[in-house]
């Protein structure tokens, strides 16, 4: 009875909750390792980037570029998002990573983004708000590019009993603007999930 008279009222006390805090990446070990959503984070981008850049740099088309007296002019276009996840920013970051690698490696001469974005915006306007990838060749040609790099990512998402799995399939390609031929293509896959 005595215990009851002490414990029971105590149970009615509200426990002080632990609040959430902001942290820096170097303050918490493995902060970048944790998956916090079914979207694409830095670790996912690095995985997708590594899979694609490795394949591209080892491809015949890049070998032919390296053999040219001058690096070819290349456009890189937004990767189309055909998934059920809002990953536009992540896809743009992936594109930027590839562009940085190729420019700094002296492999290509990349078209300035401001000129390219202006033309893309014009195409979007004409097409009522969407960028049709089939126009990439026309735009690239207008910019003086010989090749363009583009891609598309699809997903397969499933949910069962509150658990979710999203499988991403990223396809990237290099297209010869003059001939329309695909000179390189690669598929990279990734799975994210929410498990309980």
């Amino acid at each position: 009875m005595k215990l009851f008279s002490i414990v029971f009222p105590g149970l009615l006390l509200l426990a002080a909750g632990c609040g959430a805090n902001y942290v820096r990446g170097d303050e918490v070990a493995d902060l970048d390792e944790m998956a916090m959503s079914t979207g694409l984070d830095k670790k996912d981008l690095e995985k997708l980037y590594d899979a694609n850049i490795e394949s591209l740099m080892a491809s015949a088309v890049v070998a032919s570029w390296k053999a040219l007296p001058e690096p070819p002019i290349v456009s890189i276009f937004p990767i189309a998002n055909e998934t059920s996840e809002h990953i536009r920013d992540s896809l743009d970051a992936l594109n930027s990573k590839m562009e940085t690698q190729m420019v700094n490696g002296g492999v290509v001469t990349m078209i300035d983004h401001s000129m390219q974005d202006q033309l893309i915006a014009e195409v979007r306007k004409q097409q009522g708000g969407d960028f049709d990838q089939s126009k990439s060749a026309d735009i690239g040609r207008q910019l003086g590019a010989k090749f363009f790099i583009t891609g598309k990512v699809h997903s397969s998402a499933e949910t069962v009993d509150g658990e979710k799995r999203v499988q991403y399939f990223l396809f990237m390609k290099v297209v010869d603007i003059e001939s329309g031929a695909i000179r390189w293509q690669n598929e990279a896959n990734l799975t994210k999930g929410l498990i309980r």
Partner: protein
Amino acid sequence: MNAARPILFSVLLLAAASAIGCAGYAGQVQDMRTALFQADREKALKEVNGALDLGDGDQYPLKVKSEDTLLLLERASVKHAMNDFRGSSLDYRIADRHLELLDVKRDPVGKIAEWIFSGDAGIYRAPSHEKLMLSTGNMLNYLAMGNLESARVEARRLDLAQQIFADEDEGTPALLGVGDYLSGFAFEMSGRYEQALQQYLDALKDTDYPHLKAVIRDIAPCTSYRTPEIDALLADVAPVTGAATTDGATTADDAVTEPLRCIHPDRETGTLLVVSSVGLAPHKQAVRLPIGAAIVIAGAFLAPDELARANDFAVRGLLKWVNFTELAPAASIYGGVDVAVDGVAAPVELGQDMAAVVQRSWDDVKGKMLAAAIVRMIARAAAGAGTNAAVEAATGESIFGLLAQVVVEGTMTVADTPDTRCWNTLPKTIYITRMEVPAGTHRVNVRWKGARDGGIDTEVNVNAGGFVVLPIHSMR
């Protein structure tokens, strides 16, 4: 008396703790609702930010608690109505990540009884229509911003949610006509006609859209995709109506002759889609149901021993009423909407009767939820009767026992605040107006029916081959 003292002390402490009282979610958002009905959206935004414990509409809770998910949905609706489509879309996306879904059909009554009453520990579980409207609302945000890629992402999310709900409900389709309509529109404007047709057909399964049938007929030649429904529509439907010409002489009944984009990319018209709404959908309010009435409604969902116990407690006067929720009627001061483009009346069709959707969704789960509430109340009544017996035995006085029983029951009943959580700012009725208009600037006039001077006048600029989506919501 010594033995009774700790029992009475604990009972009184419980009473004190519960005396703080809790108005529930309905009380939390009442000021927001009032502000909306006073057409003061800034105040409504301020109220919902206050409920989120935030000073700014662009801030987010550091840790999204259960009610915060729902409050973010409310804020998303208010921002959307204020044309802050980007802010609204961010709120929707964060809410979507934290939304738990209601699964009354598979949960046993006992499990439902654990979470049926609100409290800090109770996770909000959203009914399917709220999940579907989340994707629909966000799709509308992206369409209003002209962002077709993100609109298609939401269309896929909507489709995914519908598949999940259908699978959980033994194949019964989870339809939301207005969501499928907007999905179809997003795919159509993206030039993906097969997917557009699939979505439009799904929309027609839920709601009759006379003008949509004409749209289907017009875009069907853009793809080889065919179904018996499309074949029937192609054989049956009248041409698209509602085209305005540059001199404004056309009436709403004249047929458009401008060829569609898929056949003639150089067409000189664009598509205008006005999505308007009036009022607010039904919301939950706390009620006390007499036990007799409650047993009649929920008896079929109670196990035989639970039913027997409920009846026994009712007869003995130990269980008199049940704390529960009911839907307050949908509220609107307007009876509908009239739309005019360049001074010419435009066709308005029903997009979705959200009041009916919310009511149907509640009616589907009400019986089982009420059964769970009765189970919970039986436990309370048993605890009260047990306390009575214990105190009476300890004190030798029946009056103390009775007093303790009343306090325990009353306190625990107060603590069992019915869960009035639901998305309060869903619209009551949604309307759709779709027109092909010449490229250029157009005056759009939306008037609320029944109002002396309520309405919106605005101008839109439609590009050749392009589109403009104009959301306009009265929220009262």
